[in-house]
């Protein structure tokens, strides 16, 4: 298995948000701040790794006609486990994310990975795919959340200590002091706007990269550079 390929796919080329455009519901709902995006991303990653591994594990046992209900039952169970664990052992974070944890079940990216990848390969690559897809999702959510938070409220990673513990309180920065706030970006329309511009940005970047790769380097670089 080509783990470099899996990594690159998950983080960038086939990123859940920026390339597959899946999981839009949590993407829009929780990205009001970088911390919320990070928390939701990490929770989804945990579910993705476990669900991919389990789907891969049962792939020889399950028949095609019952595979969807089986995957859904597995995913729903995992999400419920994450839900009760957070509620019990990370209660402050649960108060922030609680509403959205249950939504991971409905995140089509999780079932999507099970269908598109995990049911076809061994446990290790499947888990790796879950991890990388999850990290790519986390990256996207944190980026969108960060942009919305800075423009909308002038802060970055506010309340990070609730998510990562007091040691990470240093992350909490006020980017623009005495900022009056740009409410649109905290509210749902801001999520759509930021996502739209990021999608366009990724396309432009990918196009540039592709052009650079195609351009033959026949002429030697000038010596002075």
């Amino acid at each position: 298995m080509n783990y470099a390929r899996i990594t690159k796919d998950g983080l960038w080329d086939n990123n859940i948000v920026f390339a597959q455009i899946l999981g839009m519901c949590p993407t829009m709902a929780v990205t009001g701040s970088a911390t919320n995006g990070l928390g939701m991303g990490l929770a989804t990653t945990a579910v993705l790794v476990a669900s991919n591994a389990m789907v891969s594990m049962v792939r020889n046992v399950v028949t095609p006609d019952v595979r969807i209900p089986v995957y859904i039952v597995l995913i729903a169970t995992l999400v419920t486990l994450v839900d009760v664990s957070l509620n019990a052992w990370a209660h402050d974070l649960y108060k922030v994310l609680g509403l959205y944890i249950a939504l991971i079940v409905a995140n089509c990216a999780v079932l999507g990975r099970a269908e598109a990848y995990a049911q076809k390969v061994g446990m290790l690559p499947a888990a790796m795919d879950g991890l990388m897809m999850g990290l790519g999702f986390t990256f996207a959510l944190t980026l969108i959340g960060g942009i919305r938070e800075v423009i909308g409220g002038g802060t970055l990673f506010a309340n990070a200590h609730l998510l990562l513990g007091p040691a990470f309180a240093f992350l909490e920065t006020t980017v623009i002091p005495d900022y009056r706030g740009y409410l649109l970006f905290i509210l749902p329309p801001g999520g759509f706007l930021v996502l739209g511009f990021l999608l366009a940005g990724k396309r432009i970047l990918d196009k540039r990269l592709a052009q650079r790769r195609v351009t033959p380097v026949a002429t030697p670089e000038p010596v002075a550079g």
């Binding site: 009056r180 740009y182 409410l183 649109l184 509210l187 329309p189 706007l193 739209g196």
Partner: protein, 367 residues
């Protein structure tokens, strides 16, 4: 590049630039009256909106690698900025106009592909964005203090209001006021009905309903000069730039439910005249709902479009969280315009209304 197509060719009586120029001409009286009523800050705000729109339009076109000059000269960006400027609170800070104008041009227009491609009316999209984002600045209305009256802020004070963030809303200065719809909505939430809140409002602005009708009232430039906008709209109809369908239907869409509800319970529902002359209704009916890009294509479609715009505006004003709903109503209907077009189709040349080809060949054969 010249593209040739088969007949039939439709003849456009005016070029885009000419249409835009005519619409701007129709806006001039209302705008000049607004400048007189609200003084320098209104003029500054208008200029900021205009300059930002032209700059961002040029920048967007440059980034897309398109020629900026023809697009700037057709006046569409300037008209968008103009419409936005006359819908803003006249004493709003400069950055409200700048952000609004940039949003209208970049996000509401150029992102969709530029002139003729946008789904939503750019000026209204920007106004809604501003209202949601900056509710404090967007709901602080200035009292009409004509520039000749002596109470108006001077030139330097006006600079401070628009560009310096001066706090002019101090009640002691007498410059702040409430718009009629805003006042009524606030009083309703306190449980004060119209029977007491309306007289209090008119006592505060020192005038009656008729005085307000002539424009001596707090609001945006477009709200205060409602009758001049009506005149401008009639001028556009006479010149053939717009048709009567959308404006008449939109005014009707507000007036009809207002008449009915006011007759049933005068203490809880505003009457027809305050509704028609308040907020952005006149501006929207004649200058926004008639935007050819974001409205349906047929006269019947325009009528339906206008009627629903008006009805939605009345519903939002009456039961919504915001005192004024015209901008929301127009945007909602913008998104429905393609569906209206689906049901109220223009007749295709050579076919009947149902899309069947006319039986010309059969006749010829028979002959």
């Amino acid at each position: 590049m010249i593209s040739l197509t088969h007949a039939p060719h439709a003849h456009a009586p005016m070029a885009v630039g000419q249409i835009m120029a005519t619409v701007m001409l129709a806006l001039v009286p209302a705008t000049l009256y607004g400048f007189w009523l609200y003084g320098w800050p209104a003029l500054f705000l208008w200029s900021v909106a205009m300059a930002t729109a032209l700059l961002t339009e040029a920048a967007s076109l440059f980034l897309q690698g398109r020629a900026a000059k023809p697009a700037l000269l057709d006046g569409s960006a300037a008209l968008t900025a103009w419409l936005l400027a006359v819908s803003l609170p006249p004493f709003a800070p400069w950055w409200v106009a700048a952000i609004g104008s940039a949003f209208a041009i970049v996000i509401a227009k150029q992102v969709f592909g530029g002139l003729g491609q946008n789904v939503f009316n750019p000026a209204m999209a920007a106004r809604v964005m501003l209202l949601i984002s900056f509710p404090v600045e967007m709901t602080m209305w200035a009292a009409p203090l004509p520039i000749t009256s002596g109470h108006a802020p001077g030139f330097l004070q006006s600079l401070a209001i628009t560009f310096g963030g001066a706090d002019w809303a101090n009640p002691a200065d007498g410059m702040a006021s409430a718009s009629l719809l805003g006042h009524v909505k606030t009083e309703f939430t306190r449980g004060v009905d119209l029977a007491s809140s309306l007289p209090a409002h008119f006592a505060a602005v020192q005038g009656g309903l008729m005085d307000a009708a002539w424009g001596n009232r707090a609001g945006s430039l477009g709200e205060s000069a409602g009758l001049l906008l009506l005149a401008g709209g009639l001028f556009l109809i006479v010149r053939g730039v717009i048709t009567w369908h959308a404006p008449v239907a939109m005014l009707l869409g507000v007036a009809a439910p207002a008449l009915l509800a006011h007759a049933l319970s005068p203490a809880h529902y505003l009457g027809v005249l305050p509704h028609l002359l308040s907020g952005g209704l006149m501006l929207a009916a004649f200058f926004i709902a008639t935007d050819p890009v974001t409205s349906p294509n047929t006269p019947a479609g325009m009528f339906v479009f206008g009627l629903l715009c008006g009805l939605l505006a009345w519903i939002i004003r009456t039961w919504g969280g915001y005192p004024e709903g015209v901008a929301f109503a127009v945007m909602l209907m913008n998104s429905l315009a393609p569906i209206i077009d689906r049901y109220v189709k223009p007749r295709i040349y050579g076919r009947d209304r149902k899309g069947k080809s006319l039986q010309l060949e059969a006749k010829e054969n028979a002959r």
